[in-house]
């Protein structure tokens, strides 16, 4: 049985609309592409194999040999290359243009880093290879650890967390382990309203009750309100600094001191570290744990949603509780990933393990290459240019877009605007979708929640002034149209591969897997009935 018994239909449902005016549905370089399930079949393959060896005395599969079809379509190599190349062209990417997605730090991804991560000495080694055979790899992890510790002024680092949210969990679990070790379990984690959603989700996942910390009118943590809430039940306070309004928390040290005085710990969400890397060390602000998104500040590519990497730097009070494995350097010049078998001697208080193996080696390689390329001087320049670019955007647009915190001084590496002043019925999404037509990726929309119709713009340091000027001109024009109530805005985007998509329909009638169309006249059934409704 084939995966596609009906065969490929040259006119996919998408291609029949009249206004495109083409038989194929394509518009020159804008090419429609069917699903692999519509063009491939179970009998095709794009891989050749050497002859199979003799299977000794026969299969030893406990009698569980598969008898049913899997229905996985195959394609030859040319068809495969074309399918994915065509699909790639329906994506916007930092390689194509400015990608000012606030809180995401979409900066240029240097290709040197891709090349180095693919060296067989890094890419083709097994995580359980005897450690004496992978000393160079462990040295790389150790070198990166030392850089992260130096850049943050912290004491130790857990390298294994797989992404930012996983790093948050690692930090909160270390805090919980430290509290339990001193016989002082606590039950509450305080999180500002402006925090990333991962913060409260993490604290809840770790078994804590989550409470909000209010913000001031200037977009900062309300120190007095925070102090009033601190007490013997508060395990930790999670702060994002610079915060999600793009502002530095000037009272960070006072916040840390107050939390410590009440017996709690300070967790810092390091998503916005790009603004201060090489300029400020979080350890100097009293922070106990902070994850670093290597896929933000240190430019490992986002890949359409990962992989990331979220090492967590820790203070002297927390580092003993960091999970396994833990990278160590010895006086004789050897390196080791401290695992379970030697943990009792070398890292006895580890709170456990976050992942199988050692974490995101491929991201470590890229991040270290990035760090060595910039050096201590270049990283400080990264922070300065990212902050300058954001302030340039802020001051170039504050006359046409409401900038709720502009009065209180400069922003850090992202500029925030609200939808105040737009004509009735116009909102942030209309501005965002109009930016698509102008050839830009939109900014982060409706986040943070504390700003109405928030538009969070993070240009990053890898944008030239010419690129910023073009973006500013486009956004200025769109903002003016939103203020004037230009109805055409609401139809945007009109030049993208798709118009606005019906997200409500997708959620109301979820189709999460391809469903084989039943050939006309045939009975429903067979093994192919999967997903959908």
């Amino acid at each position: 049985m084939t995966a596609n018994p009906s065969g490929w239909k040259p006119s996919s449902p998408a291609s029949t609309t009249s206004e495109t005016g083409t038989i194929t549905g394509n518009r020159a370089l804008m090419l429609e592409e069917p699903l692999i399930f519509e063009i491939g079949d179970s009998h095709s393959t794009g891989v050749d194999f050497s002859p199979s060896p003799a299977a000794g005395s026969g299969p030893r599969l406990a009698g569980l040999i598969r008898t049913s079809p899997i229905n996985l379509p195959g394609l030859s190599e040319p068809e495969t290359v074309r399918h994915y190349t065509r699909l790639s062209r329906q994506n916007y990417a930092i390689d194509l243009g400015l990608f000012p997605l606030g809180s995401c730090t979409m900066k240029h991804n240097p290709r040197l880093n891709e090349k180095l991560a693919r060296l067989p000495g890094f890419a083709d080694i097994h995580p359980l290879a005897p450690q004496e055979t992978v000393q160079g790899a462990i040295e790389l992890i150790n070198r990166l650890s030392e850089w992260l510790i130096a850049l943050t002024g912290m004491y130790g680092v857990a390298m294994s967390p797989k992404a930012g949210a996983h790093g948050e969990l690692c930090g909160i679990l270390a805090i919980r382990a430290a509290l339990e070790a001193r016989g002082d379990p606590r039950s509450v984690v305080l999180v500002p309203e402006s925090a990333h959603g991962t913060n409260p989700a993490t604290a809840a996942f770790a078994g804590y009750k989550v409470e909000d910390i209010p913000a001031t009118a200037e977009g900062r943590v309300d120190l007095e309100a925070l102090k009033a809430r601190l007490g013997p039940d508060v395990a930790a306070v999670m702060i994002t600094n610079p915060n999600t309004c793009g502002l530095f928390e000037p009272e960070m040290k006072a916040i840390s001191d107050a939390v410590h005085a009440a017996g709690g710990f300070v967790y810092c969400d390091g998503a916005n570290f790009n603004a201060i890397v090489g300029k400020v060390r979080p350890g100097d602000l009293g922070i106990d744990a902070m994850h670093i998104n290597l896929h933000k500040t240190f430019s490992t590519p986002h890949g359409g949603g990962g992989p990331g990497s979220g090492p967590v730097v820790m203070s002297e009070a927390l580092a003993p509780f960091a999970p396994l494995p833990y990278s160590a350097r010895y006086a004789d010049g050897t390196f080791r990933m401290v695992e379970e078998e030697v943990a009792a001697d070398e890292h006895p208080q580890a709170f456990g393990r976050m992942v199988a193996f050692h974490g995101q080696m491929g991201m470590f390689t890229r991040a270290l290459a990035y760090i060595l390329s910039h050096g201590a001087d270049g990283l400080a320049q990264v922070a300065e240019d990212s902050v300058l670019n954001a302030n340039y955007v802020l001051r170039s647009l504050e006359d046409v877009l409401d900038a709720p915190f502009a009065f209180s001084g400069p922003c850090m590496h992202e500029a925030i605007f609200s939808d105040r002043g737009f004509a009735d019925g116009f909102s942030t999404i209309d501005v965002a979708k109009a930016l698509i037509d102008e050839g830009f990726h939109p900014m982060t929309m409706y986040f943070p929640l504390v700003v109405h119709g928030a538009m969070l713009v993070e240009p990053t340091e890898t944008e030239s002034k010419a690129s910023l000027d073009q973006f500013i001109a486009a956004l200025r024009s769109i903002a003016e149209r939103a203020r004037a109530g230009d109805e055409a805005l609401r139809a945007a985007p009109i030049h993208a591969p798709r118009r606005r998509l019906d997200e409500t329909l997708a959620a109301r009638r979820p189709i999460l897997a391809f469903k084989q169309p039943v050939p006309e006249g045939a009975e429903s059934g067979a093994g192919a009935e999967i997903g959908g409704r």
Binding site: A55, A93, G136, G303, G352, R395, A507
Partner: protein
Amino acid sequence: MRYLPLSDEDRSEMLAKVGAGSIDELFGDVPAEARLTGPIHGLPMHASEMSVERQLTAMANRNMVAGEVPFFLGCGAYRHHVPASVDHLIQRGEFLTAYTPYQPEIAQGTLQVLFEFQTQVARLLGCEVANASMYDGSTACWEAIGMARRVTRRKRAILSSGLHPHYVAVCATMAKFTGDSLDLAVPELSAATDAERLIASIDADTSCVVVQYPDILGRIADLAPIAEAAHAHGALLVAVVTEPVALGLVKSPGEMGADIVVGEGQSIGVGLQFGGPYVGLFACREKHVRQMPGRLAGETVDAEGKRGFVLTLSTREQHIRREKATSNICTNSGLCALAFSIHMTLLGEKGLRRLAEINHARAVEVAERLAKIPGVELVNDSFFNEFTLELPIEARPAVHSMVEKRVLGGVSLGRLYPGEAALANGLVVAVTETVSDEDVDALEAALREIVR
């Protein structure tokens, strides 16, 4: 500095526009005592591309590359040949340098790939729906236990002794904080799995039974009786697959009644990479999808009625639900999912079955050869491409002795289960299509000499 486009003239002009006399003024919110006045002491300054390449290449050269020696390591990470077109395609800038597809009109490439990936994973694992990926197999395994807790409203999970010990460690770590109770056991060096113990342990408080298939020693057990026993008590069966290539040849866990199937997708398209990044697979029954963690791509239409794809059911997720989310996961393994999907498309069902047949045939051949070495016993009756040998000596030093002969001959159970004397002589050997006749000769000779 090659990655920074602003010139000094640009900077002056922009500062003037901003109304700041110097860059330091922009950092005015940072208290003076916390502000660094120069580059951090003791760190090197910026370096040329050539210099960086030289430094990292020197580190890479200090590692024994799997492809350059006889190589037989597995235990949750497998070396398979990945077609050249996979790495070429994932390096298309439009895939590599895109973000999470939050703006679907300009992210249809990523979204369609995720929809295709979900369908491939669901079909391979034998389930109705799959998500758009997790970090890796170990974290997917823990998330499955959390999901079973939400579905059954029970907190006792029974873990098979054949579950990868790192996966067990991850689950045990998380359980300490969530209050789940885990039934744990250490495997025995025997041909039989612990299916009977699992079935006998299931009770009315059990949320799920977690079984790896094939297991850490390479053994394969019929999941159907375990599923039946779990369902009889209102519990779920969670199956864990660390070698998805096996499913080209053996029945899928879904077919045998598993409710949640998670896995490590690294074998297909991703490569070894010293342990990461990998790609977690997560699939389940459609009726449980609202308790599922992670992102989901779904089909919909645009304003002109054209088919398109979006991220959907996000009311399960942290950015909407915050502390009530099904998981805190945000960034996942998008690019590795793409690599998996491309490799799977190249293979197709025909190629996957063929690849699985070759792996199994090769493994049977090697197992039978090695078992003829005096003193070496094959523990398994059943296996796919990985099996356990019981040596007459401890396996941990044997592995190091083989390294001296430039053979990476397997993973010692002593490393995975320190302190378990009964497992110390166990050596897990993985045999994939990448193993040559010469490699097998070298392993056999090395092992013969070491155990003599």
